[in-house]
Amino acid sequence: MTALVPRRSVSVVYVLLCLACVLYLLPVYVLLVTGLKSFQEVSLATMWKFPSKLSLESFSRAWSGAYLGLTGLSVNFMNSVYITVPGTLISSLLGSMNGYVLSKWRFRGANVLFPLLLFGMFIPYQSILIPLVQVLQTIGIYGTRGGLIFCHVVYGIPITTLIFRNYYAAIPDELVEASKIDGAGILGIYFNILFPLSLPGFVVVMIWQFTSIWNDFLFAVVITSEPSLQPITVALNNLAGSFSVEWNVQMAGALIAALPTLLIYIFLSRYFMSGLLAGSVKG
């Protein structure tokens, strides 16, 4: 009896897991199957069928096609790159400095300051959008990629600070104290000791920031109105909202928009996980 029951329960576990996988992969199947069909083959009645011949036509149209008044996604894809890369780098550096000071150079009031800082990552951004637009217009960076980078850096401060602070807290204080006795200053300790040890921390924070900046829609749609400057999430939404665009072009566009973060996830999923769990304020 003891031998039989576990074996059956193990196969039940596998059946259930595989069933769940089918459900989770269903949207991916639809994306691929629709995106890879040629125009002749696209019809509503055959949407679940596998294409008889693979065609990259939809991808090239979504990518470069001046498609009924919409520019190709290539421009917007590059905008996303130009916004996401500097945004990720700057906010990671800021977070690293903040995390360093808040974990190794604690000053009076830091215990009050830290939760106040953290609250900034939970707020609904609707509650700051109105003055944000006014201020960006006044400084003259409204509607630009630079303006969008600036927003991502500012509103990325809480999460990057949190992850780095927790990361540095795990590095023994004795290491810092010993260097102080040896006469090293605050910057020396950072560049010679903490920074070289922070590579894994940087990977976690940069993946997190890259994913959230690349996937952002709210800031992008409010701050950029010029189609040639909009990042890919806004362009994809416009493409999908236009009734004249066929489903297969929409699906190809969706795949293009998802690809960078998906690739990062596939190759660096371990780091993605730790960022995820850090994001839930687990000290």
């Binding site: 193990v10 259930l16 897991l17 769940a20 459900l23 989770y24 949207p27 639809v30 509503l44 009645a45 949407m47 800021l94 400095m97 903040n98 000071v101 150079w105 215990n111 939760p115 106040l116 800082l117 939970f122 707020i123 609904p124 609707q126 509650s127 700051i128 959008l129 109105i130 944000l132 500012v154 509103y155 401060i157 809480p158 600070t161 605050i186 996937n215 952002d216 829609f217 749609v221 999430t233 994809l236 939404n237 999908a240 489903w247 699906m251 566009g253 969706a254 928009a257 998802a258 973060t261 998906l262 996830y265 999923s269 993605f272 996980m273 995820l276 839930s280 304020v281 687990k282 000290g283």
Partner: protein, 332 residues
């Protein structure tokens, strides 16, 4: 000693830019939004004539539109189904994976990858999957799949269904409620928006991997001896879960409720790309209404009032959580 004071000064210099930015761009801006919500600012030109709580009163009335009341109902519908969906699904997947199955990493990655994707992509794909089709096109999307699998009875209008499930004031129960002074409960604003279920499906597809990961980490943290001890005492496998494991992972459930709850209050991108406000505001949400009325309708004061209410509810949820986690950290 001199070096120490200099280092102190530098340390302030390092964090000062961030502190100032957060002070202005988070707290200063929140203050400005709160102030704007009390004014008459309803066009491109700012107008700071004080009108008290007028904008809030308008939101909670049915004149000129009952849109905000619909939004509240939709948010409640979304939050309840989304939380239950993610917690039940995430816990079930974690329990299955906790048995050290072969290929665990692959399964885990399949359940988690939707989190790496933008809500816009999710919305575009799920809108295509859940498009019910019209009388002209016949069934499309999942309805078509149901037809082919002989499950045609499962077909319905998905996010195009404008029906609400609520207690009708004229129904026998509605009359009874009115009789005992609870007539307010029998209203289309207290109920379930069926179209919202489609948005819940897409959101749960995206976020249930998160609860799965949290539960799996928690389950792995429970010492094997505890389960063994319960089994030795004659507990069945189900009893081990109900009596030993579920109570031990309660803190994870609480964190999941708070994190997912605040996500559901803020849900915006998914609604934009998947459904928009929907028929009779069946899938409208406060975050969408705020954006729509502020940046498309130029009703800045009204948008500021929605934003302020949204912030207050999120703060009620998040502040106790932040205080308790940072306090336990200090103690430890």
């Amino acid at each position: 000693m001199k070096g120490v004071t200099r280092d102190r000064a530098i340390s302030f210099g390092l964090v000062a830019p961030s502190i100032i930015l957060i002070a202005v761009f988070v707290y200063g801006f929140i203050g400005f939004t709160g102030f704007s919500s009390l004014t008459k600012w309803d066009s491109m030109e700012p107008n700071f004539t004080f009108v008290g709580l007028h904008n809030y009163q308008r939101l909670f009335s049915t004149v000129p539109t009952d849109r905000f009341l619909c939004d509240l109902r939709n948010t409640v519908t979304f939050t309840i189904f989304f939380l239950v969906g993610c917690i039940v699904l995430g816990f079930a997947l974690a329990v299955l994976l906790d048995r050290h199955v072969r290929g665990e990493g692959i399964f885990r990655n399949i359940f988690l990858f939707p989190m790496a994707i933008s809500y816009i992509v999710t919305g575009v794909v799920w809108r295509w999957i859940l498009s019910p089709g019209t009388s002209l096109t016949g069934s499309t999307g999942i309805n078509l799949l149901f037809d082919k699998l002989g499950l045609g009875f499962l077909k319905w209008g998905w996010f195009t269904d404008a029906n609400m499930v609520y207690i009708h004031p004229d129904s026998r129960f509605g009359v009874f409620l009115a009789h005992i002074g609870l007539g307010g409960l029998a209203s289309p604003y207290i109920g379930i928006s069926l179209a919202m279920i489609s948005v819940v499906l897409a959101a749960s597809w995206q976020m249930s991997g998160y609860t799965m990961a949290m539960y799996l980490a928690a389950l792995r943290g429970i010492p094997t001896e505890m389960r063994e001890a319960a089994r030795v005492d004659g507990a069945t496998e189900l009893q081990v879960y109900m009596r030993v494991i579920v109570p031990m992972i309660r803190p994870v459930t609480l964190s999941a409720i708070i994190v997912l709850g605040h996500i559901s209050l803020k849900i915006f991108d998914l609604v934009v790309s998947m459904t928009g406000p929907g028929p009779a505001f069946a899938t409208d949400v406060p975050a969408y209404y705020m954006w729509d009325t502020t940046f498309r309708g130029n009703n800045f004061a009204s948008g500021a009032a929605i934003a302020t209410l949204l912030l207050l509810v999120v703060a009620l949820l998040i502040i106790p959580y932040l205080v308790s986690t940072t306090r336990s950290e200090v103690r430890a």
